[in-house]
């Protein structure tokens, strides 16, 4: 299928770029461990597990912001979005390819972050991992779309957190609730978020990158 092949080529391109540049992923890994370290000093001794979980989610959201801010850097600095938009492929393939690459980075960062959290604070169970996985989808889909918007203007790195954080509130609610074991509702809510905003992002990307 043409679409899948386009998406594959684009996702591969993004992963290749990161493999060469080696900038974003190392920064994310260092950042997330540093953030967790700061949190250790920021919370009083004997903090409840639930409060500590909240910090995990804060760390994950801000680490994700690192990845998202860097997502369109090559396209922006070299004007390459023009070249991609001109290609006869569906513009949403650009979005999907980029989202898949962002997801890969997020998963890679979490492979380090979750064990680190388990070691620094307290255990991480299956629910948390599932919640993180679902949240990643939401962060990746929405974040990639917003990343393209932020890159089009002047304020860029300043703008993306402002655009992203209000939309991240429901993700954090769902994520913390699910990892705290407050019920399957929270996981279902994350699925709802992913479905609704994923679909919206997929459909809207064309309008964000192409004028005509």
């Amino acid at each position: 299928m043409r679409y899948a092949s386009d998406v594959g080529a684009l996702a591969r391109k993004d992963l290749l770029l990161e493999l060469r540049a080696k900038e974003t992923l190392p920064a994310m890994l260092v950042f997330v461990v540093a953030a967790l370290t700061v949190f250790h000093f920021a919370v009083p001794h004997g903090t409840r597990h639930v409060a500590a979980l909240g910090l995990l989610w804060v760390a994950l959201v801000f680490t994700a912001l690192l990845a998202l801010t860097r997502a369109f850097v090559a396209e922006r600095e070299q004007g390459l979005l023009d070249a991609l938009v001109l290609a006869p492929c569906d513009r949403s393939a650009i979005w999907l390819g980029k989202t898949l690459a962002v997801l890969a980075f997020l998963v890679a960062a979490e492979v380090v972050a979750l064990p680190a959290f388990a070691v620094f604070f307290s255990g991480v169970d299956g629910r948390t991992v599932l919640a993180v996985a679902l949240a990643d989808v939401g962060i990746g889909t929405v974040g990639t779309l917003l990343g393209a918007m932020a890159v089009a203007g002047r304020a860029r790195e300043l703008l993306l957190p402002l655009l992203f954080l209000p939309l991240a509130v429901p993700i954090v609610v769902g994520g913390v609730g699910a990892s705290a074991g407050a019920g399957a509702r929270y996981l279902l809510f994350l699925v709802l978020y992913d479905a609704v905003f994923g679909l919206l992002s997929w459909a809207a990307f064309e309008y964000v990158v192409a004028e005509a």
Partner: protein
């Protein structure tokens, strides 16, 4: 300067403005003199007649903005971009007022300026932040079809965020906000409900007036700049 009256008439400002003045006057009169004093909360309960209509009007603003945004993307209507922007601008103003009146009500009722248990307030805080970012986005991009498209997409995201956030906030806490509207209808007496409705109508009319005025002003600005550019 006969341009000014004609402009006002063309944009229906005068009509709506008069309607708004009448309704606001009526609402104020009703709120302070007609509505019965609440046995639990006393005089400060009257803030409710401001707070909830303002909140509902803010939702209407965002909804109208989203509708116009849809027209920007669907019909490539540039005028709709301006209308969407003005509606959202008004929405942020009414949203800020919602937070303000809500805070005053919280202080009067429970002695605290802010309460995280107030679902509506928290929702409005999230939306307020979201739509503030809307303006950052607009100011960061050069005017043109690109900016119109992006603003429209963002406005649509906002309107989808409203129910999703509401769900999220409900999930995350107990429901302490005085339950005024339930599935069986408003838990208010006849006179309270009447006052509420007039106040709601007044706020909507106020929005319509401010919307028309701001739109007229922005159109005039754009016309003048275009004339200037043509003449230079």
């Amino acid at each position: 300067m006969a341009v000014v009256p004609r402009m006002l008439v063309q944009n229906r400002v005068a009509t709506v403005g008069l309607l708004a003045t009448a309704l606001v006057g009526a609402a104020l009169a009703l709120i302070f003199f007609y509505a019965p004093t609440d046995p639990d909360q006393g005089f400060s309960q009257r803030i409710f007649y401001f707070h909830v209509p303002i909140a509902l009007t803010a939702y209407v603003c965002f909804g109208w903005g989203a509708w116009k945004a849809l027209r920007v993307l669907w019909k490539r209507d540039e005028e709709a971009d301006l209308q969407s922007y003005v509606a959202i601008h008004q929405g942020v103003i009414f949203g800020a007022l919602t937070l303000l009146t809500g805070s005053i009500w919280a202080k009067a009722s429970w002695g605290v300026w802010w309460s995280w248990s107030e679902n509506q307030l928290v929702l409005f805080l999230v939306l307020f932040l979201f739509y503030c970012a809307y303006f950052m986005l607009r100011f960061s991009v050069e005017p043109g079809p690109a900016r119109a498209n992006m603003s429209a997409v963002y406005a649509l995201f906002g309107v989808v965020l409203i129910p999703i956030s509401f769900l999220a906030i409900r999930l995350s806490q107990k429901f302490i906000h005085p339950v005024v509207f339930t599935l069986h209808g408003p838990q208010m007496t006849g006179s309270q409900f009447f006052t509420f409705c007039v106040s709601l109508a007044a706020m909507l009319a106020l929005f319509a007036t401010l919307y028309a005025v701001e739109l007229a002003g922005k159109r005039a600005d754009a016309d003048i700049r275009e004339l200037r550019a043509l003449l230079s």
